[in-house]
């Protein structure tokens, strides 16, 4: 087990900078998830920790030892890839023991370690099979087994669940989390799925365009997003953003509706333009507040999701981003075309600077 320290790391391909100076401290035994949209540099960062990509600037240290110029095999890490990267011509047992055999580990020790890993992951009956005879979930478990057998300082996961179907993904999520609780190995995990990040991580690193937007515990990010990107990325369905301005003791939307601020008016901000952020589940039916037309009602059984179009906006493509999402726990008889009035819970609302995106 080990800590990982990433200091001002940069990566460029020719003139294009993919990662623009990133610093993360990962404690011993921590489960850290790098999350962000495609192309934000999260996988590249993971591959730099692994040693599969060269580091253009800054340092990566594992257990306080800078590993920038160390080949992957000397870093004492194990990696699980999105497409499993199993050795197709080897049995499951051979796949799992390959690293140990390369190190000339004693046969008895190899058998013991493979059996232990197979026991943890329930792979016992599959040891003599070949990867192509296994289902996606089983293959992913073998890939994890291969990592466990190594008993490394750090586990690296590169979108390990992306190739699995939705149901299996939920199951494997639990298994990975359980495995981490059992082995307590420092883990860095990359995903684009914010639900995976929220459910599994001790600490989430939100990345976007090669920079870190925010680092924090899952619920911290949810409750106190540092900027509009994090606010919009974390949480599903995404947070509603309503443009307008701060005035008096409240917020005035562009079409003149008043939204409450609950007395949390930032100083010297009268008339200042701002974006009002409210999560879909923080609206309630009200007598005053925003008047909006119901566009779509999507019942899921446990909750109902509604897409609303504020009155005064047109149905065109341009106004699509003005639409609001409302999630309510109870069922509703609302029909498309009806007009409802909803008000946000001021204590749970957020205000952002429309130019910088930063939280006010």
């Amino acid at each position: 087990m080990a800590s990982v320290s990433i200091r001002n790391v940069r990566k460029s391909y020719g003139p294009v900078e993919i990662i623009k100076g990133v610093s993360i401290d990962i404690q011993d035994g921590e489960f850290v998830i790098l999350v962000g949209p495609s192309g934000c540099g999260k996988s590249t960062l993971l591959r730099m920790i692994a040693g599969l990509e060269e580091i253009s600037g800054g340092t990566v240290a594992i257990d306080d030892r800078v590993v920038n110029d160390m080949p992957p095999k000397d870093r004492d890490i194990a990696m699980v890839f999105q497409n499993y990267a199993l050795y197709p011509h080897m049995t499951i047992a051979d796949n799992m023991s390959f690293a140990l055999r390369l190190k000339n580990t004693a046969k008895s020790e190899i058998t013991a370690k493979v059996e232990r890993a197979a026991g943890i992951l329930g792979l016992g009956p599959l040891l003599d099979r070949f990867p192509r005879q296994l289902s996606g979930g089983q293959r992913q478990r073998v890939a994890m087994g291969r990592a466990i057998v190594r008993d490394p300082k750090v586990f690296l996961f590169d979108e390990p669940l992306s190739n699995l179907d939705a149901k299996l993904r939920v199951q494997m999520r639990t298994e990975i989390k359980e495995m981490h609780q059992r082995l307590k190995t420092t883990t860095v995990y990359v995903t684009h799925d914010q639900i995976e990040a929220m459910t599994m991580a001790d600490k989430i690193v939100v990345m976007h365009d090669g920079i870190i937007e925010q680092i924090g515990a899952p619920l911290d990010l949810y409750d106190h997003p540092a900027n509009m990107f994090v606010a919009g990325f974390i949480g599903s369905p995404a947070m509603n953003f309503i443009p307008g301005s701060i005035g008096g003791d409240g917020f005035t939307t562009e079409d003149g509706s008043r939204l409450p601020l609950g007395g949390r008016v930032p100083a010297a901000s009268d008339g200042r333009p701002a974006v009002y952020g409210v999560r879909p589940e923080h609206f309630r039916l009200a007598d005053e507040g925003l008047a909006a037309e119901v566009v779509v009602v999507e019942p899921t059984g446990s909750e109902t999701q509604m897409v609303l179009r504020p009155l005064g906006t047109k149905a065109g493509r341009e106004d699509r981003k003005r639409e609001l999402t409302w999630v309510l726990r109870e069922r509703t008889g609302a029909r498309p075309g009806e007009v409802v009035r909803i008000a946000p819970d001021p204590a749970l609302a957020h205000l952002f600077n429309p130019d910088t995106g930063l939280r006010l």
Binding site: A85, H89, F130, R146
Partner: protein, 310 residues
């Protein structure tokens, strides 16, 4: 190659036949193919078998002699020697192109500058006519006037007798065969290399495999099915090789490079002993079938990417 897979096809056709009976009205469509197969493949073979049981010299009476031709073969020193030459020539003509072709494929699989152009040049020998190649090499092999001995003299070796001496003639012929057919192996293996997944290599890097270990434990086993294809094609080609041998040495000096094919040719078309020649052809055919079966069996065992891998 059609011989090799015919059993699979027959099995496949039989299982279809059980479930879907062919109606009589479909049969006319099969007739043209049937006529061609019977006329070109089945009839010549049956006729060869029949001829091999006859004493049949051109211009003389034909006489049924049963297995006598085969008994004669077993004690024919020239035939047994030809068999030895054939096996040595085939083994070397498979192994040398296989090793060199694999090495070339590995080289062409890297990011070489001007890779396409070099690959094109490399493949050219394969496209040339064997007789033309044979004539060029005959000139190069010439002990006094040939370019090979000239080149060797520059580094102080030689002169060698090449195809003019019994001890070097087979090696020299293998050199020509290797020169012409290494590109084929290269193309087959290159295709195999291109089809390999890249992720296991990254994972092996993390697992601690050196470049040599990655080749030994990943690349080699994974391209084994392709190597086996190359071995099968090369074995059959080398076994029945005729044009290059006939053009360069006609089996000489003496009979030092006479293969079964060349011996068969002189028995049948120089001595006009058709019956005995047919017996040689039958033995040769059985030899090729046996070798093909062995190779096919090995190939199926080497295929990690198909079947259920028992």
């Amino acid at each position: 190659m059609s011989i090799l897979t015919s059993s699979d096809r027959v099995a496949g056709a039989a299982s279809v036949g059980r479930t879907k009976r062919l109606r009589p009205s479909y049969w006319p469509f099969v007739v043209p193919a049937l006529v061609v197969v019977v006329g070109v493949i089945v009839f010549p073979w049956v006729f060869t078998l029949w001829m091999s049981a006859m004493e049949w010299r051109i211009g003389e009476e034909q006489r049924f002699v049963g297995l006598q031709n085969y008994v004669r073969l077993a004690t024919d020193v020239r035939f047994l020697e030809a068999m030895g030459h054939t096996l040595v020539y085939t083994a070397l003509s498979v192994v040398a192109p296989l090793v060199l072709g694999t090495a070339a494929a590995l080289a062409f699989n890297t990011k070489l500058p001007a890779r396409g152009l070099l690959r094109g040049i490399f493949v050219m020998p394969m496209m040339a006519t064997p007789v033309a190649i044979a004539l060029v090499w005959t000139m190069m092999f010439h002990p006094q006037l040939g370019v090979l001995n000239y080149l060797l003299s520059l580094v102080g070796i030689g002169p060698l007798q090449w195809v003019y001496h019994p001890s070097t003639v087979i090696l020299s012929l293998v050199l020509v065969e290797t020169w012409q057919w290494t590109p084929l192996v290269m193309l087959i293996v290159l295709g195999g290399l291109a089809s390999l997944p890249t992720e296991p290599y990254e994972s092996a890097q993390i697992d601690g495999a050196t470049a040599w270990q990655r080749f030994r434990y990943l690349t080699l086993p994974m391209i084994k099915p392709f190597l086996m294809v190359a071995v099968i094609i090369r074995s059959i080609d080398a076994l029945k090789s005729f044009d290059i041998l006939y053009t360069i040495t006609q089996g000489g000096p003496g009979t030092a490079s006479e293969t079964i094919n060349l011996y068969l040719y002189s028995v049948a078309f120089t001595y006009y002993d058709i019956g005995y020649g047919s017996a040689i052809a039958v033995v040769f055919f059985v030899l090729i079938i046996l070798l093909s079966l062995v190779l096919l069996h090995l190939r199926q065992r080497s295929a990690w990417n198909s079947g259920d891998g028992k």
